[in-house]
Symmetry: C2
Subunit: 205 residues, 2 copies
């Protein structure tokens, strides 16, 4: 019923995602976004309401394809060290593979908008806090399954791992060599006792 949209909404959100990823949120004006999509601002407002609303859609879509999404998908029973090792490898590979060195859209947005944007700041804040909680949950599975000792401080460790991931997502903008990023991740992971050895000749696709 009614006139159908002339553009593919999924595709549009994806296009916008890459633009905001590159340029940042504030630099992506309604005018610029509309032009990128090949539609008028009028259609933009009609289809998405506000820039903030679209950003939330973009963020959701981004999360589902981010290199650490495996952490959110995991269900017990699971080899936690292996999961962490693979997630961090994937993160390093993904960040180094980006020829534009954009880092992580979510973390870029945290740096830009947290404690700054009334509406989007809290959204990003709970995204990060949720991620820390998810890591802690996964670590708790490892304790429950006896992979880790009973007295492991999973909260402290979750903070460290999230912090490691955030650091990599920013440092990759400067340290562009995958081997260097991997060295950073694996050295810290090993120190924290969260590295799975014996994965070196296994194909982890």
């Amino acid at each position: 019923m009614g006139r159908p949209s002339a553009f593919d909404r999924e595709q549009a959100v994806d296009d916008v995602m890459h633009m905001i990823w590159r340029d940042g949120y504030e630099a992506s004006s309604v005018k610029a976004l509309s032009e990128k999509l090949g539609i008028t601002r009028s259609s933009f407002y009609n289809a998405f309401g506000t820039r903030e609303a679209l950003f939330k859609e973009v963020l959701e879509q981004y999360c589902k394809q981010s290199p650490d999404f495996a952490l959110a998908l995991a269900t017990p029973p699971i080899d936690v060290k292996m999961l962490l090792t693979l997630v961090f490898r994937e993160a390093c590979a993904a960040r180094a593979a980006d020829p534009e060195g954009r880092g992580c859209l979510a973390i870029n947005s945290v740096a830009e908008l947290c404690n700054q944007d009334e509406e989007l700041g809290p959204v990003l804040e709970s995204l990060v806090l949720g991620s820390i909680n998810q890591i802690q949950t996964v670590l708790n599975w490892g304790v429950a399954s006896k992979e880790f000792p009973r007295d492991l401080d999973t909260h402290a460790l979750a903070l460290c791992l999230q912090n490691l991931l955030i650091g990599l997502n920013v440092m990759c903008k400067v340290v562009k060599d995958e081997a260097e990023l991997l060295l950073t991740a694996e050295t810290t992971l090993k120190a924290l006792g969260m590295y799975e050895y014996g994965l070196d000749e296994v194909d982890e696709d």
Copy 2:
């Protein structure tokens, strides 16, 4: 000779620093900066030339008062673990003490401008690379003084420590409790074997 400037340049750079710290570089227009300083854009251009030039001045001034500046000031002989422990404590305290949760001006700018701004990107890039090198140099002093074993991988460790610092400087925007930041820093530092115990009841002014 000639008419003297109506404003204190040092003070002006400091004011601008706090504005860019809060709002970010791109959000700090020449108009906004000029108004903050109580001068006209005309005077702004006359005094600072370009926004980029002023930012470089701001960045220099920022670095000299950043919580990790002690790393740049250090000279051997020095207790490296103690230096690192104190620097990270100071960083956590400083980030948590900021009621506006602005994080680190330098790292915010890296996230915003690296691989994005033709002129400022490289400046920030070499700032971070220089910091990694400085950390590695300090670690090497520790090896030379036998504080650390001869085979310590100081390059890998320097990357980890810089990454830890970057992570804290972003994560503090979300995790605002100093104790949580400290837990993150100290847990990672201990894991990396870079934590100086026995400082707990020492006054580190």
